[in-house]
Symmetry: C2
Subunit: 473 residues, 2 copies
């Protein structure tokens, strides 16, 4: 789809100004554009135009350039930075918030990252290096290190004055954190509470001491869940000694929640969240390929299982054509259970209810659904058998041997096979995420392809074992 | 899993106080508990204990009770309200924020809802009724109607005084909205900007006029995406005439984003978001059952397709055992495409890139994956054929007729069938969500079961048609 008209106009003007080297006009136009609205325009430009534009911004108004740079989607900014002169890249990153600069740099290859870092302003460089110590996807990595913190002896009047003089520098200051003489976080006060109490009181008299905090090495998803659960605008982050080192603000929380939801959805579908950065077709195929391996291996193993029952296959004739129903319905039910458990673990609902209780609940649901669909498929098979004659389902010799029991036996076999397949696949689907979560592995990883594989193999085996049992007696 | 020790202690104390009618202690204990931590305790209590507790809170400290009520999960609070005396329920809702009260009431059955509403304080009742006019899942329904708004002629000094005197009443006031004499929203100012400008200036001199707003009838997901995109703490909501009627705050935005993500994940898995309220096993089975119908219908139709090729089935023998691979791998690839498109539509990424471009991209990925897995399955089949002899794959007569071409032909047939199945299933998987989105239906709905159904039927048909073409020449 083309850009909407407004963005098209901006794009054309940007191109005209770039061609004519009308750098003043260029900066003015960018200043009037919202960074969030620029991403689709960026996509339409070619690499030369992009790097030229950011070189002009870096020279003329690095603060504006930094704003645009930090609002580009994951991966897009990382592709741009190595194309800029080192000095320009460093100047732009100097003007980014510390957490944004760290995020951008961690996406760039090591060599460029080192060079850019070396060219940054010592103070900004120190902040970024400090953040890069923390591992990816932790509170430390996404926190902003500039926190508004005052000592507990400060009066409210002094605090208001401090906000007025320093407020502009601090990213999203809604809370005033209170620290003791050893920089330990001891309390918190909202900006509003600061204004609605008498100015002669001291912070320690009015601060809230019941704190929700995160450690710098806490997983970013946990921090986001904390903020979401307790309706916080920022979660203060402390180091291992309890000293305040930063805060994770609500805008980052929102990003993390969206990112993690996307990750879960992609994993559930059998692909990776790396897809969200719109890689090339080749790369997409490479990302998705391993997940299909599960279906491939499952299918090939199922083939070996089926071929083990060569003689049964011959007696079954048409009944074997129902194997796809058994595997399909069973696998779908297993995946439903897997995903209800996975999402329940992500939102904390499963832990609240208890592992065993949730597992038994899923088995109960599977039993009901297994009986329902086992019954449906049995009835369908029976009706088909009545219409086409039992030899449409089993070999003439088997039909003759079983007489009038041939049709009910065939229908019952299919029904039972489906019910058992569903129970096996639900057991796998519910147990795997619970087990992965116990050992601290993201349960969304590869549960559903595994369920498919196991269902294919176990379902085929169940089908033919039951066939041997039922049709040869 | 049992409650953690701390919550267990709280639960036991609550029960002791309830037994002894120690209502003072009860209220004190609740006041020391975070509403967000209470939900698992509530779950452990029986209905009698729950209603007794909230009756005590309603009598002794309705504001505290309202806080706990509005933090209970979806459905749980709705189950509690009808068990309370009407007056108590009304008193608790009077103390809730307007949007919370509206949400709670809309979950209660109509009769109780009317009775409770009638018993509410006229002022609070009017607010709730006003909100209930808006449809479920719109900005109007989730907004808080108490907004901090001042006229544009007000000076900053007067505005600070107004915040100090009225700030406590307004939920999460980060922004000061500026209105003209007809209540139209004309500007916005952050609380911080209010403090960092000279007090003699007027609001209209310093306010930002480039506003991001939502209409009351805007879908809640759109509002949440707006707030997330532009890093806003609140989105002002206007009526059809542009008058400021409320604002959607970031805590509600976070809730909406999580809720919509859960909804998408459940839909993708083939179940409904109603599962998140932990319904009974019966209800869960009822919710999931329709989705399995797709796999059932697909499988039964595939059976009919397979049976149409009776003679081919006999010539194929072992090759038919590979049908599960063809259907499994093809269906998985179709679902990957469907979900990448669905999530891309939810986050706005697809619209940015264009419908056609995204569709072609998916087809490109499917072609690569189809060739890869078509090749893999052909090689697997060939190896199996070499090990077991060609009669392990096709009937002796066919093997004899084709001679040394029998094995390559069988392997090629399987490979081609898989590649074509994947292309069909990806076409369906990518097209359906795009088409649904065009006609304004949530694309997450029932795409994946449909993909499974189509793959089962089309895959079987392709398999046998190719078999007829290749093995009979």
């Amino acid at each position: 789809m083309a850009l909407d008209r407004k963005r098209q106009v901006v794009l054309e003007s940007l191109r005209r100004f770039l061609r004519r080297s009308a750098h003043g006009h260029l900066v003015n136009l960018m200043a009037k554009t919202r960074p969030q609205d620029y991403a689709p325009i960026h996509e339409e430009m070619n690499d030369r135009e992009r790097s030229l534009l950011f070189r002009v911004l870096g020279d003329r108004d690095p603060e504006l350039g930094a704003d645009f740079l930090s609002h580009l989607p994951h991966g897009v900014a990382a592709a741009l930075l190595p194309r800029l002169p080192i000095v320009t890249a460093a100047r732009l990153l100097d003007e980014c918030d510390g957490d944004d600069a760290a995020r951008l740099l961690s996406d760039v290859d090591d060599e460029h990252s080192r060079e850019i870092l070396a060219a940054m302003h010592p103070e900004d460089k120190a902040v970024v290096e400090q953040l890069l110590i923390y591992e990816d996807e932790t509170a430390g990595r996404i926190m902003t290190p500039s926190v508004f913190a005052l000592r507990e002896e400060t009066t409210l009047g002094e605090a208001v004055a401090a906000v007025q003089s320093r407020g502009e520098d601090v990213e999203m200051a809604f809370y005033l954190y209170v620290i003791d003489e050893r920089d330990h976080l001891v309390g918190v006060l909202s900006l509003r509470e600061l204004l609605t109490h008498p100015p002669h009181l001291r912070l320690k008299d009015v601060m809230n001491v019941d704190l929700i905090t995160a450690r710098a090495d806490t997983d970013q998803e946990e921090v986001a869940q904390l903020a979401a659960k307790y309706d916080l605008l920022a979660v203060p982050v402390t180091d291992e000694r309890g000293r305040l080192v930063g805060m994770v603000t609500i805008d980052d929380v929102v990003d993390v929640l969206r990112e993690e939801a996307t990750e879960d959805i992609y994993l559930v579908a059998g692909t990776s969240a790396d897809e969200r950065i719109q890689p090339s077709i080749w790369k997409s195929a490479r990302i998705r390929s391993p997940w299909l391996l599960a279906a491939y291996v499952g299918g090939m193993l199922a083939m070996l299982v089926i071929r083990r029952f060569d003689t049964e296959l011959e007696t079954l004739v048409g009944l074997a054509a129902l194997l796809p129903v058994v595997l399909g319905v069973g696998g779908s039910a297993g995946n439903q259970s897997a995903i209800v458990i996975i999402r329940g673990l992500a939102t904390g609902r499963v832990e609240q209810g208890g592992y065993l209780r949730n597992f038994l609940r899923e088995m109960g649901v599977a039993t009901l659904l297994g009986l329902l669909y086992g019954g449906l498929v049995a009835v369908g098979t029976y009706v088909y058998g009545v219409l086409s004659g039992p030899t449409g389902l089993v070999a003439p010799s088997t039909a003759a041997a079983l007489g009038r029991y041939a049709l009910p036996a065939a229908a019952g076999l299919i029904g039972l096979a489906l019910t058992f397949s569903m129970l096996v696949s639900t057991t796998i689907g519910a147990l795997i995420p619970l087990a992965l979560h116990r050992v601290n592995i993201d349960p969304a990883v590869s549960t559903t392809p595994f369920v498919t594989t196991v269902t294919d193999v176990a379902g085929s085996a169940i089908f033919f074992l039951l066939a041997t049992l039922i049709l040869t007696t």
